[in-house]
């Protein structure tokens, strides 16, 4: 059971499955319920949170925290005032500069081991000391150090998958050979599903089709919405279009996680 004070890693086998979209909207869904949320961009190879949140400059990045040059509170930016909610939301950003990406890609095993230690210590610093309800890690896709470090540090791994054959095969492999080995509680979100989302029969057909693909329980199914592609990451649905079916699905997913 996940009590308040949980770390959620949003991961996927392939890129472009909607990890960041899910992470941001999930964070805002929790925020709408008055939770104190911390959203961390751990996709150091392709940072995107800074662009989505339109934050060009940060005094300290998460890269600095993992390098040991600052403490976590210095690398967090409070963006609660952008939202008209009771809750609090702070974000930690990955440095999008090419030089920073190059530098972090060249780190060795010892550095990655220390980075794991720094991520593990967030449980104490953010959940216990700073009283956050949820920490959400937006990770890099596939099997690489930064994402596995995040998975090892998390209580729950939310895996975003599409119906793409290679994505399904890869995700199933990761379920057996990654999440299971670390004994992680894993839930799947099927994203970009092409179906008739407007009718109940269409949604039921889609649900039964997906049930045959993955063993772990489905946390949610998100149909492919043209509105999301059209928005191009310029706004947060959970906040600006709370009535949109996508925002409602994310609210349902957040409610499910709260009950775990």
């Amino acid at each position: 059971m996940i009590v308040l004070g949980a770390i959620i890693a949003v991961h996927s086998y392939k890129g472009g499955t909607g990890k960041t979209l899910i992470s941001v909207n999930l964070a805002v869904s929790f925020l709408k319920h008055g939770r104190k949320v911390c959203l961390l961009d751990l996709d150091f190879r392709a940072p995107s949170l800074s662009s989505i949140l339109k934050i060009d400059k940060a005094e300290y990045w998460l890269n600095d925290y993992l390098n040991g040059t600052c403490e976590i509170d210095k690398a967090l930016i409070d963006i609660s005032d952008r939202f008209n909610n009771e809750g609090k939301i702070l974000v930690g950003l990955a440095n999008p500069a090419t030089e920073a990406i190059r530098e972090i890609s060249a780190k060795d095993r010892k550095w990655e081991m220390r980075a794991l230690g720094r991520l593990l210590s967030l449980r104490n610093s953010l959940l216990s000391t700073m009283d956050f309800d949820y920490l959400i890690f937006d990770t890099s896709p596939g099997l690489q150090y930064s994402s596995i470090n995040a998975i090892v540090s998390a209580d729950l791994v939310v895996v975003a998958s599409t119906l793409d054959t290679s994505d399904i095969e890869g995700t199933n492999r990761m379920l057996r050979e990654l999440y299971d080995l670390f004994e992680k509680k894993t839930e799947i979100i099927m994203n970009k599903v092409l179906c008739d989302a407007s009718s109940k029969s269409g949604r039921d057909e889609m649900q039964s089709k997906i049930k045959d693909i993955y063993e772990p329980p489905l946390l949610g199914v998100i149909p492919c919405y043209c509105d999301i592609s059209r928005a191009g990451g310029t706004f947060i649905f959970a906040q600006e279009k709370p009535g949109h079916p996508f925002a409602k699905i994310l609210d349902e997913i957040a409610a499910k996680i709260e009950k775990m």
């Binding site: 095993r109 010892k110 081991m113 794991l116 593990l120 090892v152 080995l181």
Partner: protein, 125 residues
């Protein structure tokens, strides 16, 4: 003989504790001997220090990964504390922890009666 009886009568718990301590030491020596047999080396010494990163954790056998991950989470712990987390027997965890020390992934430090295991993070890279 009389003296011994007195000792047993007065301090049975301490004596048992001493026996346990000695058994632990024997256990550690056995672990080393097993490693020597495996590697075929007579002048056995622990393998050079090796970082305990996630890829290493992934490639470990399941039983050792569980122990190693617990140390990663706790930072520094005794076999008792690890056993409490993994819900395996203390002696089993002691064996696995010493094996991880021999493999170069963990460090061990004795403080009084207790032996602490931890991941060496200083002076690296």
């Amino acid at each position: 003989m009389v003296k011994q009886q007195e000792v047993f009568g007065k301090r049975p718990l301490q004596i048992l504790e001493k026996i346990r301590e000695n058994l632990e030491k024997l256990n550690e020596k056995m672990e080393v001997m097993i490693e020597i047999q495996k590697t075929g080396k007579k002048d056995f010494s622990p393998l050079p220090e090796s970082p305990l990163d996630v890829m290493t954790l992934l490639s470990m056998p399941d039983h050792l990964r569980k122990t190693a991950m617990t140390i990663c989470r706790l930072g520094r712990a005794t076999a008792d504390e690890v056993a409490e987390q993994t819900r395996r027997a203390r002696a089993v965890e002691s064996g696995y922890l010493n094996q991880l020390v021999i493999m170069g992934y963990l460090k061990k430090e004795r403080k009084g009666r207790k032996a602490y295991f931890y991941v060496e993070k200083e002076n690296q890279g």
